[in-house]
């Protein structure tokens, strides 16, 4: 049976006289005394403790309560002595961990950690996380790491978050002492998620993660340390080292530049120069070093790096000149002679390498026949604008003709198949639609409703498919110096546009011949809408193709988006048929806007307020621009 001490104390302490019957049981009396202590009524508690005498069975508990009273009153020394005495007896296990922690802290201050550890070793500290933490730290001090790890692990298992986080972090630190950096990183990582934000903890964890070769975690934690207020100068070196180690030289350069924008430090600038040199950007590295030397002309590290950069660029004579100039101008520092001889050794080594190692031949001057003889005028654009345009039109035309022959000319039914393929799809969908829906929106015929939806969408979807693989599938043509990637894209997409226009026209003529009168309100608007669908397909295809250079699954995402648009772009429904909330959402679909505009030119009954052709047009043209920008950005990869 559990006893609420506060409640019982409130009841008992409020009584004018304590019922002697109630206190006849020694255990009840102990509970009563504990209640009094919790209410800070130490005098009354001592009075009742005296009732027990010295030889009763509950003597250890009585002593523990006396120690609690002493510690609560602030008489730490006596309380601690009493607890130490209890700890020597077989009743040591009964000492509550919280009392033990207070006593251990006192012992540590007064007699050192070994006394505190000897005391805690007799206590069961697992029950209280704070005491366990102290105990584990003391065990670690005594180099009893396995015992400390075992204690922390046992305590962590029974302790909930967020207190467990401190135990996990300590576990990580103990594992570091055991040189098990992988487990240390894991424990520290789990602990950090629940600990109050402190950049020091994150820095320490990052260092451990670096040792465990978990560079990604290390970089992330250092980033978090920065966001929790770590001084940039503390972070910058490990951060740069990490990024260099993970091959992210660009990231290292960026972080150094960010620090330099806030704080001008020549050492950071030299670190930046080192990174630039590592990434083969010698001119920039040299510029950074020279900038440091302008402000600190006698900066030895900068001077050394300047010489190194010049040597790595094969400018041996320049490096020699720099050293000689420095030797003449500067009469200090104390170790100047040694420094100069170091630099001269570097130069001598480089000269020797150049003479010995054929790999250094690139540093020697070019033979006359190979010297660059291009003039500034050659580098500028020359000739008329129309000559390359004419050449490009010629090339695109040649590729289109070749593709047309290859795609449709293989069999005699090739061209017919281009018509039959969508025809079969439309017939199947028409049957399903006729069975399921029966009522055709906008008072249109079933054929016209599906043709305006499905074939218009094919302008987008098929063009997307062509644009997304144009460069890959036509890659072997790029061996011809005259053919550029853009020619492949234009030829593939223009051929698709022509094919789709042909199919659309054939279907419309077929519908009219079958007795279903086709009245087009404004053929120019219909044509414009179809071209907009094509633009959207080209743009999205190029964008997905560009993204796929970085992430392989971009093509899957692109294809999933197009499939979703197939069902959401009003091919089989009118927006008015949707529930009002869904109708509002569907208005944001640009393809739905364009397809409804096409249908508005085939039926006078189409009236959907809220839909706008200009919105759809802006999206398609925006996507086209985005696609070409992305293509240009990744073209050189």
């Amino acid at each position: 049976m559990t006893v609420d001490l506060n409640e019982s104390a409130t009841i008992l302490v409020s009584m004018p006289t304590v019922d002697s019957q109630l206190l006849q049981s020694p255990r009840n009396l102990l509970l009563f005394i504990e209640a009094l202590i919790s209410k800070s009524r130490f005098g009354a508690a001592e009075h009742y403790l005296d009732c027990f005498g010295h030889n009763c069975d509950l003597a250890p508990q009585v002593q523990i309560l006396r120690a609690r009273i002493l510690l609560s009153r602030g008489d730490i020394e006596k309380g601690t002595q009493l607890l130490v005495a209890i700890a020597q007896s077989p009743a040591a296990a009964a000492i509550p961990p919280d009392l033990a922690a207070q006593a251990a802290a006192r012992l540590e201050r007064q007699y050192g950690w070994s006394a505190a550890l000897a005391f805690l070793n007799k206590i069961n500290t697992v029950a209280d996380p704070e005491t366990a933490l102290l105990h584990a730290k003391l065990l670690a001090l005594a180099r009893k790491i396995p015992a400390a790890v075992a204690l922390v692990e046992r305590c962590a298992m029974r302790t909930p978050f967020p207190v467990r986080a401190r135990l996990l972090y300590l576990h990580g630190r103990l594992k570091v002492l055991q040189k098990d950096y992988v487990k240390a990183t894991f424990s520290m990582g789990r602990g950090l998620t629940q600990l109050p934000p402190d950049w020091r903890l994150y820095c320490r964890a990052a260092m451990v993660a670096e040792k465990a070769s978990n560079l990604r975690a290390a970089e992330r934690w250092l980033g978090m340390a920065v966001s929790f207020g770590a001084p940039p100068m503390t972070i910058i070196r490990p951060m740069t080292r990490l990024r260099l180690a993970s091959g992210n030289i660009q990231g290292a350069v960026q972080s150094l530049r960010a620090v330099l924008s806030k704080l001008h430090d020549p050492n950071v600038q030299l670190l930046l120069a080192k990174c630039l040199l590592d990434s083969e950007r010698r001119p920039q590295a040299l510029a950074e070093v020279e900038d440091v030397l302008r402000q600190f002309p006698d900066h030895l590290d900068a001077k050394r790096m300047q010489v190194e950069i010049l040597l790595s660029a094969g400018r041996v004579s320049d490096a020699t000149f720099v050293i000689e100039e420095f030797a003449e101008r500067v009469s200090y520092p104390p170790g100047k002679g040694r420094f100069l001889s170091e630099l001269q050794d570097l130069v001598a080594k480089c000269e020797e390498e150049t003479n010995r190692n054929p790999a250094q031949f690139h540093m020697s001057p070019l033979p006359p026949a190979f010297r660059l003889s291009v003039s500034e005028r050659d580098l500028e654009f020359q000739g008329s604008l129309f000559a390359p345009l004419k050449a490009q039109v010629n090339i695109v035309g040649a590729i289109i003709i070749r593709e047309t022959v290859g795609r449709f000319g293989e069999t005699r039914l090739g061209y017919l198949w281009a018509i039959l393929e969508p025809c079969v799809q439309i017939i199947v969908l028409a049957v399903i639609y006729w069975i399921a829906m029966k009522k055709i929106p906008y008072n249109m015929s079933l054929g016209q409703f599906l043709i305006t939806g499905i074939l218009s969408f094919f302008f987008f979807m098929n063009t997307y498919n062509r644009a997304a693989i144009a460069v890959r599938s036509g890659g072997n043509l790029l061996a011809h110096p005259a053919i550029k990637q853009i020619d492949l894209i234009w030829s593939a997409t223009i051929l698709e546009l022509a094919t789709q226009f042909g199919i659309f026209t054939c279907f419309m003529v077929g519908t009219a011949l079958s007795g279903d009168p086709v009245r087009i309100g404004n053929p120019l608007v219909v044509g414009l809408c179809l071209i907009l669908m094509w633009c959207g397909g080209v743009g999205l295809g190029l964008f997905v193709d560009a993204m796929a250079q970085y992430v392989g699954w971009a093509r899957l995402i692109g294809w999933a988006v197009v499939r979703k648009l197939f069902f959401a772009s009003g091919l089989f429904f009118a927006p008015e048929q949707l529930p009002s909330w869904l109708e509002k959402i569907s208005m944001y679909n640009p393809l739905l806007n364009i397809i409804t505009e096409i249908r508005a030119n085939f039926s006078p009954f189409v009236h959907t307020p809220g839909l706008s052709l200009s919105y759809g047009a802006a999206w398609c043209l925006g996507t086209l621009m985005l696609g070409f920008t992305a293509h240009l950005a990744v073209r050189r990869r």
């Binding site: 091959g247 790999a359 006359p368 010297r371 291009v374 010629n394 070749r402």
Partner: protein
């Protein structure tokens, strides 16, 4: 002339940036000069030829071609298997602005394909296909031809014919010839570029180039 202005090529790999060609500025005397491109396996010789051909864009810089440059000979770029040999010739002549009938005449005579030229290329045997592609490569006159290891194709007789026609071509055109073979290089070339550790080292003297190439070959073997 082919001018390389600050041209470099690097690829982003999982292990970081791999630089195949460090920034290089030089002019290649393409007219009537036969330049060998030597280098160890994986040095980037084919990448260099692809850059010159325009198959790949340089990471930095520009390549200015002041002469007509062929595609890498014998690689059969743009040969569409589903269309006939004649249609393939028509396509090539169209993009290079060459005379179609002259090219057809050359291919017909040189490859000895006859009526097979009117069949889809996918129906050709491997040998016939190689002959057709090689003939097509030589059907158009260029100022500079690019050869990636391959000098001749097909059977022995065709190979002999190929060498003869190449020798004639090189009287009035230049060549950039990628090879591992020192002997082939000595046979065909009079200048060389050695690609080593991403640096293009040019030599006017072929003996110096082969000596240098043998030295790096020896170093890598150690």
């Amino acid at each position: 002339m082919i001018h390389l202005v600050d041209v470099s090529k690097s690829y982003i790999t999982e292990r970081g940036v791999k630089t195949v060609i460090h920034p290089t500025s030089m002019s290649l005397p393409a007219h009537k000069k036969r330049i060998a491109v030597l280098g160890l396996n994986g040095a980037g010789k084919s990448t260099f030829v692809r850059l010159i051909a325009g198959m790949e864009e340089p990471t930095t810089g520009r390549i200015l071609k002041k002469c007509s440059v062929s595609w890498p000979l014998g690689s059969g770029p743009g040969v569409h298997g589903k269309v006939s040999g004649i249609e393939n010739i028509r396509f090539i002549t169209r993009i290079y602005g060459a005379d179609f009938y002259e090219a057809v005449g050359f291919v017909e005579e040189f490859s000895e394909l006859g009526r097979a030229l009117y069949d889809p290329v996918s129906t050709y045997s491997a040998g016939t296909r190689a002959k057709f592609i090689y003939s097509l490569s030589l059907a158009i006159d260029f100022d500079c031809y690019l050869l990636d290891e391959l000098v001749a194709a097909g059977d022995f007789r065709f190979q002999k014919k190929s060498r003869e026609i190449l020798a004639k071509k090189f009287d009035k055109s230049g060549m950039l010839f990628v090879s591992h073979s020192e002997l082939k290089v000595r046979q065909y070339c009079n200048m060389a570029l050695v690609l080593h550790n991403g640096y293009l080292v040019p030599f006017e003297n072929l003996d110096e180039a082969t000596e240098f190439y043998l030295a790096i070959k020896h170093d890598s073997a150690e």
